[in-house]
Amino acid sequence: MQATNVELYKKLYLIRRAEEKIQEHYSEDEMKTPMHMSMGEEAIVAGVCQALAPQDQVLGTWRTHALFLAKTGATDVFFAEMYGKAAGCARGRAGSMHLSWPEKGLLMCSAIVGTPLPVATGAALANKYRRSDRVVAVFFGDGAVDAGAFWESFNFACLKKLPILFVCEDNAFAVHTPRTDRHGFESICDVARQFRSNVFEADTTDAEEVYNLTRQAIAAMRDNGSPCFLQLHYYRYLEHVGVYEDFDAGYRSRDDFLAWRARDPVAVQRKKILQGGMVESELVQLEREIDEQITVSVKRAKSAECADPRELCDGVYKCGL
C-alpha cells in the first residue's frame, strides 16, 4: 500500500500546490477566469482517480482543478488554459470552469448544475454498448442532488445497469445555501439504496480510505452490474468562487473549518507515508520536484502565445458547415 499511498500523496500535493500558485498569482489579474477552488476536496478526487484505470473516464463540474490534475497531471496544459493561452486544453476558450481532455479520460466539465450527470451516463452507456470494461466516474456536488437531472440519470443508470460511479462531493453547501435548506430528506444514501445500486458513504479526509472505498465500489459493480452511488463528505476551504476564505460572510463558521483543517487531506497523507517508511528528505525531494514542475508551468503559461483572435469562430462546427 505504501506505493499507492505515495502516488496518492503526489496527486494531493500537486493539486494543493497548483491551487496555492493560483492564489499567489490571481491578483496579478492575468488569469481572467472565475476560479472554483478544490481546496479541501483533494482526498476525494485523488482517491477515486487513483482507483480508476488510466482508460477509465471522468466528468466533473465547474470545480475542475483537482479532477483535471488528478486525471492528467498535466500542469503545463492546465496553467496555459488558466492564462487563456493557445497551449491550454481548449486554447483558452474553456478557462477554469470547462476543462476537459477526452483523450486522457477527462471527458467534460460542465458548469451548469446537474448537466455532467446525463453526459456521464451516456458515456457509460456507450462503454457498455461497446463491451468495453471502462468505468465512468462522474463527480458532482450535493447541489446536483437537488436537480431533476440527477434523479433521471441515476434512475437510467440503475435501470440499464451501467458501469458508472456517481460520486457526490458533498460539502453541505450549494454556493451559500446549506443542504438542509434544499433537501426534503435526511440522507441521500438512504434514498439511493432504494434504487438498484451499490451505495457507499464516507466522511473522511484520508485519500487511502477513499481509494479503498472506490475499489470496493468498482468490485461490487463488476459483481452485480449495478452502478454505484458514493456520498463523500468534505469541507470547502475557500469561498464558492474565488481564491479567498469567506468565514466572515456568516453562513458558516471558521471553527468548522478549523476542525476539518486539523485533518487536512494533504497533511494526513504526508504523515501516513512518512509512517509508511519514506524518509523525510526523500519526501521533501519529491515535493520540490512537484513545486518545480508547477513553477515552470506557470512561467511557461505566462509567456505563452494567445490563440489568434481570427480563430474565434473555428470549431463551432466540425468540418466547417
Binding site: 461497446r130 433521471e152 462546427y317
Partner: protein
Amino acid sequence: MRVITFCDALNEALRQEMERDDSVFIYGIGVPDHKRIFGSTNGLLEKFGPERCFDTPIAEDTMAGIGLGAAINGLRPIHVHIRVDFLLLAMNQLANVISSYSYGTAGKHSAPMVFRAVVGRGWGQGFQHSKSMHAAFAHIPGLKVVAPTTALDAKGLLIGAIRDDNPVVFLEHRWLYWQEGEVPAEPFTLPIGKGQIIRQGSDLTIVATSWLNVEALHAAKILARHGVNLEIVDPRTLSPLDEELIISSVQKTGRCLVADNDWVFCGFGAEVAAMVSENCFKALKGPVRRIGFANTPCPTARHLENAFFPNAATIVRKVEEMLDLEPVDLSAENFYSHENRFKGPF
C-alpha cells in the same frame, strides 16, 4: 424510379445507416413500440435489437445528455421526439451543453447526434402539442437545423444528418409523412446547408419551410391559372442557411414572401426577411412579407385551428396583396385537409 412516402424514406434512411455503421443507434419514447413513431421506426427493433433501438423513461433533458455522452464515446445517437414540444425539455442540454461541446474542445472533438422531432398540426392537439420553435434552435451556434419537405430530401438529409459530425435538429412535419416521391433505393446523402428551388418562377419568390412548401405549391398552381408565376425556395436546412440561393432568387423576382411554419415574431421568417431585405435592397420592388401562425398559443377547436394555421389560401391572398391584384375566386378550390388521410388523433 421507385416512389415511396416521406415516412418510408425516413425509415429506409435509418435502416440503411444502422446497417452501415454499428455506432448508430436510435432511442426515445415510443421508438420500439407497436406504433413505431407513425411507422418511421418500423423494423428497426427486429433487425438491430434492443440495444440499438430502445425506449426510454420520460426524461428528455437527461436523455439528450445521454446522447451527448454516447457521442463523445464514439457512437452516433438518434434521439426521437414524437412532438417537438417535448424537445423543449432538453433546451438546457441543447443550448448550454451539446451546442458548445465541440467549441469547448477547441474543435478537436465533436458530438455527432441527431434529434428527430415531429412538428405540425395534429388533430385538435392544442397549445401543448403544436409548436415548431425551429428559430430557437437555429439561433444557437453549434446546432444545425434541418426540415425536409419531400420524400427524397427526407432520406438524403436524414442520412446526411446522421453522418454529420455535429448535433442536428431534424424536424419532420406530421402531414408530410404521406407525401410520395421518387427516392433511390440505395443510400445517398444530400448536403446539409443547401436549399432547393422547388418551383421556378419569375414574379415573386416564396421562401417556405416544411409543410408550407406543399401549401405554396398549391398556391402557385392556383395563381398560375391567373397568370402569376411564383418561384418557391425550400431552404431545407434552416441553419446553416443557404443564403445565396434565396438571394439569387429574389434578385431575379424582385419580391419575396416568407411562409414559415411557426410564429412570426422573432421567428425564422424574420431572419429570412431581414437577410433578404439587407442583401436584395436594390432588387426588391416591394417589402418582404411574412406569414406564419397566428400570434397566440394554438387552440383546439377545429374552426379556431383553421384560423391559426396558414395555408395555400393565406398565401394566395398575401401574394395578391403584394402584387396588387384583385382577389381570385377560391370558392371552387379544394384546400388540403389531413382528414382525407386520417380521422382521430394523430
